[in-house]
């Protein structure tokens, strides 16, 4: 049983100073993953715990005309009524995570920094082009959420990096498709989500994304580009080309079940055809 030292930084500045000073740090936000995964009565952490749940900068939500930004220590419950979770289907997805008693302490930062796999909201946030703001020492860097997946689609979380904010550009949601695939999502398993989002502007598809995330993450940029700027509804030949592109790129991953996913992608495109501006 290892006893760790517990720190309660009250500001981001204090936290950054502690992170610079301390070695072998464990960031704890809602703490739910530790309590759940460790089946022993007593918990164990790295030698130095940074409890970040009481830092106001990490708990605030800001919205401008162009984007929404939430602190990494916002709980999943706090995000329930903000973009993009104010959208019925997105909120339904949020509600699949545990129960209200889990979501009242589990944070979005802990959800995205889980590291072992992509949890339930990752594919949705990737479709919305979420950007993650990290701090390490005195440096701040902002990366697209895809930065947390490598070329093979595996999660790549650098330990010791602090996720401070999540920023999402606001867009009109004319098509949102969410489908659960496979088995369990947490704490591990082969389950995940296929999510697709599109914006239609004056009968043209101005934005389209389709992301699958679970043990790995997948997206075909070329297929998306074939759809973006195409007329809505999509002409049959573009539909066929896109389906071929997805079939090919899914096969190339040597990971995803093509026979299971292609009919779902076809459903996505059919739903997109039915969407209205």
């Amino acid at each position: 049983m290892n006893i760790s030292e517990i720190h309660y930084p009250r500001s981001l500045q204090e936290l950054m100073l502690l992170l610079e000073r301390e070695m072998n740090v464990q960031i704890v936000a809602g703490g739910t993953t530790f309590g759940y995964i460790q089946t022993t009565r007593y918990l164990s952490f790295e030698p130095s715990i940074m409890y970040i749940g009481q830092i106001p900068e990490l708990r605030s939500i800001h919205k401008t005309e162009r984007m929404i930004s939430f602190g990494a220590a916002c709980t999943l419950s706090e995000l329930e009524h903000v973009y993009p979770f104010e959208h019925g289907q997105a909120r339904k997805l949020l509600h699949t995570i545990g129960t209200p008693a889990v979501r009242n302490i589990a944070t979005i930062g802990g959800h995205l920094m889980y590291g072992k796999r992509f949890l339930s909201l990752w594919a949705l946030l990737a479709c919305f082009d979420a950007e993650l703001e990290f701090r390490a020492f005195s440096k701040t860097s902002t990366k697209n959420i895809w930065y947390s997946a490598d070329e093979m689609g595996m999660p790549t979380i650098e330990s010791g990096r602090l996720l401070t904010r999540i920023r999402i550009p606001l867009q009109s949601i004319d098509h949102l498709f969410i489908q659960r695939i496979g088995g369990a999502v947490f704490p591990d398993g082969d389950g995940g989500y296929l999510v697709s989002v599109a914006t239609i502007d004056r009968r043209t598809i101005s934005n389209f994304k389709l992301v699958i995330a679970g043990p790995r993450a997948y997206r075909d940029y070329d297929a998306e580009q074939r759809i973006i700027a195409a007329p809505h509804p999509l002409p049959a030949r573009i539909m066929q080309t896109v389906m071929r592109m997805y079939a090919e790129s899914l096969r190339k991953t040597n990971f995803w079940n093509v026979e299971l996913l292609l009919p779902l992608i076809s459903q996505v495109l059919e739903a997109l055809q039915r969407s209205t501006e």
């Binding site: 309590g35 007593y42 952490f45 008693a101 302490i105």
Partner: protein, 159 residues
């Protein structure tokens, strides 16, 4: 280390280490008897507490997270009139609460009865998902909570 938090309306001082779960500190050091901690996985709800007025599983929470927070357990409510009203309403509805779920169900009920604005039926039903209990009929629970809210509303309006 020493930490302080507000437990059932009183300042509570405890000595904790990083390894303890909140449920263990509440039961062993603070004398809370209503929590049982059957699964330690956030599944059964027998360890539910209110943290800043919201339900959380004390088995999943490291004890150090209690610091400076307001915590309520079922003990806080047992002497209140609403508590006995809810208890008898639930028994009347035929939902004899099994002992392991009693804490969670009563805590959810009291949280809902005291919440402003009054909860919707949907919110009442969704709060039950925090407790894994096969012995309570969700509709009976919602009826009981709504009846007490209505009753108290009328009582509050009387001079």
């Amino acid at each position: 280390m020493n930490i302080e938090f507000d437990l059932n309306g009183r300042v509570q001082k405890v000595v904790i280490t990083s390894v303890e779960r909140a449920i263990d500190v509440l039961t062993r050091q603070c004398g809370i008897k209503s929590l049982s901690g059957t699964c330690l996985e956030g599944l059964c709800g027998t360890c539910l507490i209110l943290l800043e007025g919201k339900p959380v599983y004390s088995c999943l929470m490291p004890a150090f997270m209690l610091r400076d927070h307001r915590v309520e357990t079922t003990e806080y409510f047992t002497k209140m009139r609403e508590y006995s009203l809810l208890n008898s309403e639930l028994t009347k509805e035929g939902s004899a609460l099994c002992s392991s779920c009693h804490n969670g169900i009563m805590l959810m009920g009291m949280m809902l009865i005291r919440s402003v604005p009054a909860p919707t039926r949907g919110e009442i039903l969704s709060s039950l998902s925090n407790v894994h209990c096969d012995s309570i009929d969700p509709d009976d629970f919602a009826d009981a909570v709504l009846k007490i809210i209505q009753h108290l509303g009328i009582a509050r309006k009387m001079p």
